[in-house]
Symmetry: C2
Subunit: 419 residues, 2 copies
């Protein structure tokens, strides 16, 4: 094992030891520690900002695009926002200990299914340093230790944040090692982390499609796949166009760089002529580049041709693919072929069409007459979000605190044996 | 791609197409198809038994141990039992469509969390051909297609079972491809199956520790790890010895070859002298080979020394490791070090000890004053079992029909957009 690997293993081992203590910690102790960590982030923001300046300077020196530098850069207000995030997590209900169900068997055994922490959660993420405080806070509130592995460009920032938080958490009685940070950003340290089944119970990648694919393909730890969103808006034959246009524009342009933004518009042929000219103009007025099939291109100007590649792509940009379909079923089929199974919306006043779309579309979230942008832990009322799962095991769609837990069965008997 | 790989991909592709139809099939149609398949298994049992004879003859010719041949061999009664299993699954409640929760947001969005099938479930298993009918039936009832990959020794039997079932299912309106069987048993076809994320939503290995490890290490499809059980019985200082002895003997000897059998006995030093001599004799009378630490060995005859290896091993046999511990905490620590996190039992009349053990032991099932042998879908009242999960994501402990499902969110709006 390389020296770096030894360090990663030791961080994970310490996290597992901490997790055993965290699992039975009472809510009040966790909340007090989160508030102490929040206070410490603000009180010691100068240290954090100094470390962040180094990261930002180096990123600029290496030619990082200013839009990415903006994600990386912290300010006093952003540090305050991180601290507020921790305070909000402290205010959320503790999911641990909930009795999910319970029953008594004919032989008298009393079975209780009880929500418990996952144990150790690994999080592999990209540039934004606020994810560090955010993920650590959510894991802690759900009774988990965490092993964080951020990007190299944010390493000094992440180290400063974890150092400040850890000191405050330890002073508040949280076991050491509860928040582990991998102090490297090379590929090997990530690969080592992904192999530590003995210590890490679940791995959550947060970032772009490339990062997520790497984790899915290399991890032997169970992974919760998150975030890639090739989302669709389908405007049905019976759509109320006064709803369809605002939903479409909101889904595409309100924040085009995020996973719940829409990437493809499907329009039923019966209303294509009534809807598309106006829709095309509205999107183009907002600066959208459009790619369309032949029928779409006859209903507007300056629309580039769309093919397989455009229908498959998650643009994360002011770009949208458009297609006219001849039926609801063709829309469902298009989505089955191209979607990343994140969020799809139908706009319709037709009862049966709404029901069929909701039943047949196999995505984490199906919106009926609402923008795809609502797929979000905050918008769902979860109070916090660790990511949006696009896989089917364990959690699907926006994940809040309960998705950072598992359950165990506790069975109470009085000497029962099996015959 | 090899010819075999092409075949596996095609089976998975057809399963995915079938899954889209199965997901919205009504309960009555699924139940009628299961009963038709059960009837067909009985009506055409001669074909199945003939195919099975070939497998058995070949296995004997290749020198398979008779205990394994017994697992492989079918009889008219065993075919009847397979059919009865399908009828029992038909009689279970359909988990699909359950509203797990639902709420309305301040902006009027109505969020519904609805239980839906997983889609395509891959199952990789070993010798017993009854798993073929069993797994296919459970998957179908939960609205899933399945891709089965059994062992080479049962290939002819599995093919006959799937042929008979598929014909009956198709006649009952189930889409073709709903039950796929990989017609190879080489390593490559298993590896190909484990890579088909595009088509397969979850993979469940059922078999020995080696099979499970191979799947966990090689699959890029999310895996539900099942079944390895290094289970412990801890007899506390305040145990009622009249309960402890029957629980211990039942946990160890009632069926030593299964995952919920106990492998290690931990005894508090305060009652070691009162309990162990009798316990050792009772186990030895049942033919158990015992391995013990020094203190244990002074309390009985013919006890072999126990070390790290014995405490870690899942014997699946009439063997048991024994250790005297000085405290409840030492028992908890021993379990944390050696357990496979399947099932652990405490025998005690001490309220606080029971609570502490149940809270601190991080296993799928914790038994208080009951045998470890109760960790079982049937004993839990699930009516059926697809396996016992020893991982923490998605499902933990005995898995019934609901564990073969996921959920999706359907959100009803009236034109809401995000601001």
């Amino acid at each position: 094992m390389s020296e770096a690997a030894v360090v990663v293993v030791e961080i994970a081992r310490r996290a597992k030891a901490a997790a055993a203590e965290l699992a039975t910690l009472c809510t009040a102790a966790k909340d007090a520690a989160l508030i102490a960590a929040a206070d410490a982030l603000v009180a010691r923001s100068a240290e954090i900002l100094a470390a962040n300046s180094k990261d930002v300077d180096q990123a600029r020196a290496e030619g990082m695009h200013e839009s990415l530098v903006d994600r990386l850069a912290l300010s006093p207000a952003r540090v305050e926002a991180m601290a507020d995030g921790l305070r909000e997590v402290a205010a959320l209900a503790d999911p641990v200990g909930e009795i999910l169900s319970g029953w008594t068997r004919p032989n008298g055994l009393e079975i209780r299914k009880i929500r418990v922490p996952l144990g150790v959660v690994g999080i592999i993420y990209e540039a934004r340093p606020n994810v560090t405080a955010d993920a650590a806070g959510l894991c802690l509130k759900a009774g988990n230790a965490c092993v964080l592995r951020g990007s190299g460009s944010a390493l000094a920032s992440n180290q400063a944040i974890v150092a400040v938080m850890s000191e405050a958490l330890a002073a508040a009685g949280i076991p050491e090692g509860a928040v582990g940070l991998v102090p490297f950003a090379d590929r090997e340290s990530a690969k080592v982390l992904m192999s530590l089944r003995e210590y890490v119970d679940a791995l959550i990648p947060r970032g772009g499609a490339g990062l997520i694919r790497t984790v899915v393909e290399n991890s032997t730890i169970p992974v919760i796949e998150t975030g890639v969103g090739n989302c669709h808006v389908y405007v049905d034959a019976k759509a109320d166009l006064a709803k369809a246009l605002p939903i479409l524009v909101n889904a595409k342009v309100q924040r085009p760089g995020v996973c719940n933004a829409a990437e493809t518009l499907l329009v039923h042929s019966d209303i294509a002529e009534a809807f598309l000219p106006e829709a095309i103009k509205a999107l183009q007025d907002k600066g959208c580049v459009l790619y369309g099939d032949e029928r779409t291109r006859t209903l507007g100007e300056g629309i580039l041709p769309a093919g397989d590649e455009e229908y498959r792509e998650e643009f994360l940009d002011l770009k949208m693919a458009v297609r006219v379909v001849d039926s609801l079923e063709q829309a469902i089929e298009h989505i089955a072929t191209y979607s990343s199974h994140h969020t799809e919306a139908i706009v319709t006043e037709d009862y049966s069409a709404a029901r069929r779309f909701a039943a047949a579309v196999d995505s984490a979230v199906v919106m009926v007459n609402a923008s795809t942008r609502f797929t979000d832990g905050g918008e769902f009322g979860f109070g916090a979000e660790i990511g949006i799962s696009t896989q089917k095991l364990h959690a699907r769609g926006p994940m809040g605190l309960p998705e950072l837990t598992t359950y165990k069965f506790v069975v109470f008997g009085e000497g029962q044996i099996r015959s």
